[in-house]
């Protein structure tokens, strides 16, 4: 029932900037220039990159094992022929399609995956996607604890005991504990394989990646250059994009990238937060928006006894006019749950305490015994809008609950550090976007005790137990039901107060129509040409 409602909300938030005909394509070949509003990457290696810019570019050069079908939301094989769990979901067998090669002509084999993953899992290599393998058996042997300040020594063990080669095209992954969502996690591009010659000396290939994906380097790529890619005819998977050539142009200042688009110099760019109110008039008929994705919260410090009573947290939640707040943010929808609306398993009515009701809020606050002293709201000075959002929330708490409010601006990394050491006073903002499309990727990181992104430092053994049950449940629908139970527990305890979900806006030239999918968002790489 909730799912239908959720869908309605999702569809309502789906934009439709129609494109005018005409087209400004200069030549017959299908080429596009994509602006990336980020510092240019210094190397291309998906296993050692978890930034949006680097992974986005790598997507053109490398191919994942599996992917989400943009039309149906189902899992689709790319490099994999099959990904199958055993009965307990603890050991997974990955079979590769035969006949795929790297751009240097060597075949893509199971050994390439196993060796690339082992390299990444070895802590002393300090590759950024190391954390992905923490679920795999044997991870701890490659990542022994290091005393503060000491350089991690290369370990004697070089391979994950959980990774086993079966034959040339098959390998198995044994996890530490059963995990029913593991198949979904394999679509992360940060798991793409490197060919042997690159594995031998990754530094030599920093700027000349050899991938297994639809595009290869078209020209030498030196520091300061645009990244120019050309279609690679060796790519055999069915999801090859349409463009014959793609140029990625890195423009760290998002407003400058936006101006480059308006001047007609790039075919695709993000709309920066400063232009959310004006992009529809700046580029009429040349914009698209994604379905709301990711989720944004107000974080209650679980270590602060003043915020301990769940009724107080519910009172705060009821005192927030989410509609007004989402309007202030722009391109946003009020959040009524902890999961993003584009997830399978999202329920639009999950939260019972998220409707704005000042009377009820006051009553709940009274039942909780009130709140002594001013509520401090921390905001990031790195963000242009941090202070405005903090003041909006502060005013709502002040007016609707009669509380005193104060504000503290700090750099976001400093806020995180203070929170990690339980020294942060009061509330702060946080947001989360999934790495793989499962509601589990919201619940485990943010609500499991010691989760990777447990902003509130929240812990409830009951929730951990339900999550573990979901992880061990091989039937996807049943697993979702269990995860939803975990969401319900988290909403009752409310370590995070849901605020809003946000869609992103993008501009595109008349020449292309970006792929817009309610499952995987907006993509310029998979644009169609007119």
């Amino acid at each position: 029932m909730g799912v239908a409602l959720g869908l309605a909300l999702v569809l309502a938030s789906c934009g439709d900037g129609k494109s005018s005909s005409g087209g400004s394509g200069s030549s017959g070949s299908k080429s596009e220039v994509i602006a990336v509003a980020a510092d240019p990457p210094e190397y291309i290696n998906p296993l050692n990159d978890n930034g949006t810019a680097g992974i986005g570019v790598s997507m053109a050069i490398f191919a994942p094992l599996v992917t989400t079908d943009p039309n149906t939301g189902k899992l689709l094989n790319v490099m994999a022929d099959s990904v199958t769990p055993d009965k307990t979901s603890q050991t997974w067998t990955v079979k590769l399609k035969p006949g795929n090669t790297f751009q240097n002509g060597q075949p893509v084999t199971a050994k390439d995956y196993v060796d690339s993953w082992n390299m990444t899992a070895e802590g002393s290599n300090a590759w950024k996607n190391n954390g992905f393998f923490s679920k795999v058996d044997g991870y701890d042997a490659l990542n022994p604890p290091t005393p503060d300040g000491a350089t991690p020594k290369p370990t004697a063990v070089k391979t994950l005991s959980g990774l086993k080669l079966v034959d040339n095209l098959t390998f198995t992954v044994k996890l530490k504990v059963p995990f029913s969502q593991f198949g979904l996690t394999l679509q992360y591009l940060g798991l793409a394989p490197l060919p042997e010659e690159v594995r031998k000396n990754p530094d030599a290939y920093k700027r000349k990646p050899i991938g297994n994906g639809p595009y290869k380097l078209a020209a030498a790529w030196n520091a300061g250059d645009d990244l120019k890619l050309a279609k690679w005819d060796g790519y055999k998977a069915s999801d090859a994009p349409e463009a014959d050539s793609i140029t990625y142009r890195f423009i760290p200042n998002a407003d400058t990238a936006y101006n480059e688009f308006l001047a007609g110099n790039v075919d695709f760019t993000d709309v920066p937060s400063t232009k959310v109110k004006s992009f529809k008039t700046d580029a009429p008929d040349q914009w698209v928006t994604s379905v709301s994705s990711g989720a944004n919260y107000l974080v209650i410090p679980a270590w602060d006894p003043r915020f301990k009573n769940p009724k107080l947290r519910h009172a705060f939640s009821e005192a927030i006019d989410r509609k007004a707040f989402a309007d202030l943010v722009g391109l946003s929808d009020p959040a009524k749950g902890l999961i993003a609306p584009d997830m399978n398993g999202y329920r639009a009515d999950a939260c019972k305490y998220c409707d704005f009701d000042a009377t009820k809020a006051k009553q709940l606050l009274a039942e909780a015994g009130g709140f002594s002293g001013p509520v401090n709201i921390n905001y990031s000075t790195t963000s242009a809008t941090g202070q405005i959002f903090a003041e909006a929330i502060g005013n709502m708490l002040r007016q609707n609950l009669g509380l005193q409010v104060k504000y503290t601006g700090k750099q976001s990394s400093e806020i995180t550090e203070l929170a990690d050491s339980h020294k942060l006073d009061g509330l702060r903002f946080s947001g989360w976007g999934h790495d793989y499309p499962s509601i589990e990727d919201y619940l485990t990181p943010m609500f499991k005790s010691n989760g990777d992104a447990n902003f509130a430092h929240y812990s409830n053994p009951a929730l951990d137990a339900v999550l573990a049950k979901g992880d061990a449940e091989p039937d996807p629908d049943k697993a979702i039901k269990l995860y939803q139970q975990a969401e319900d527990i988290a909403l009752e305890d409310m370590p995070l107060i849901p605020l809003y979900t946000k869609s992103n806006a993008y501009l595109h030239s008349d020449k292309i129509e970006p792929r817009v999918s309610k499952y995987v968002g907006v993509s310029a790489l998979w644009a169609t040409f007119k």
Partner: protein, 308 residues
């Protein structure tokens, strides 16, 4: 002369130490963990964090980190940035970009500043003088950020006369707009100073005496007015030259020019003490050299201060 130069260079060494130490301390004192800043919202595995912290000496005491950075700079082993860029490569790429931008903007700034200043000084209270006052007020009131984005929008997006950003069109096209913007934001001060200095000098006793002696106007202008009036102007031009690096930080970031200013901006954003100190050292060296040149030029114009 040689002794003079030597003395200045030797004096620069302790100043350089103080400056680099100060800059390093400022970056060190910035709140927040640089590696966390680099990672954004994503959690970093403990092993990765430990390896990176060790690689960049982030767990060492402040003074050790500073000395290691200075050792790297003095021995030319610049290493890599947190993001993995080879710093020596970056310098090779970026120094020419910043030099081209700085030279061009200074040419704009000096030509406009001197022309307007001289003209306004000799034609005091004329149309140009009043317009200059107005322009000065406007330029000083408009923040650089607004000026740069307006310039970008008007000349790049609307009129399409000049590139919006980037260095793809090479010299001079790619540099015209940012250089013009820096020039405009800087010329006003120079013009005002030149004007005032000219006015002061023209009314001074020695010029009146020269005129009373019956000297020709040309001789008065070239031998008496200009050399004296330009003394403070030369000083300001020197400071301008050294300060252009500050302007480049903003202009290169907005106009996406891969120069030292953009590099500095990234490094400060990520709290990369080593890179900030390296770039500050470069700026400092430039400052010292320019100051020296200014002093030599000063002596050439005014014998009273020669080789002081």
């Amino acid at each position: 002369m040689i002794r003079f130069i030597l003395r200045r260079v030797l004096a620069a060494i302790p100043i350089g130490l103080v400056v680099t130490l100060g800059v390093y301390a400022l970056v060190f004192a910035m709140p927040g963990d640089p590696l966390r800043e680099l990672a954004g919202d994503k959690p970093i595995p403990a092993a990765v964090l430990a390896a990176k912290r060790a690689q960049f000496h982030l767990d060492d005491p402040f003074i050790v980190q500073y000395l290691l950075s200075m050792k790297d700079i003095l021995t030319g082993h610049f290493g890599t940035t947190f993001a993995g860029a080879d710093i020596a490569d970056q310098l090779r790429l970026r120094i020419p970009v910043t030099l081209k931008l700085a030279t061009m903007s200074l040419v704009f700034q000096w030509i406009a500043g001197l022309l307007f200043g001289l003209y306004a000084g000799f034609r005091r209270n004329g149309v140009v003088d009043r317009m200059l006052l107005l322009a000065t007020l406007v330029v000083l009131a408009v923040p650089g950020l607004v000026l740069y984005f307006t310039g970008q929008y008007v000349f790049g997006v609307e009129l399409k006369w000049l590139p919006v950003s980037g260095a793809r069109d090479g010299w001079p096209m790619s540099y015209l707009l940012p250089a013009l913007c820096i020039g405009i934001s800087g010329f006003a001060g120079l013009a005002r100073l030149t004007r005032t200095s000219i006015v002061d000098t023209v009314n001074s006793d020695f010029v009146k005496t020269a005129r009373a002696k019956g000297l020709g106007e040309q001789r008065i202008l070239w031998r008496h007015v200009l050399p004296n009036a330009l003394l403070p102007v030369v000083t300001l031009m020197g400071i301008d030259f050294a300060g252009i690096f500050g302007g480049a930080v903003l202009a290169e970031s907005i106009f996406n020019l891969p120069g030292l200013g953009q590099f500095m901006f990234q490094a400060i954003k990520l709290k990369e003490g080593g890179v900030v100190v390296l770039l500050s050292t470069l700026a400092f060296l430039m400052f010292i050299v320019i100051n020296l040149i200014v002093d030599i030029v000063y002596g050439a114009i005014d014998p009273r201060v020669r080789n002081v």
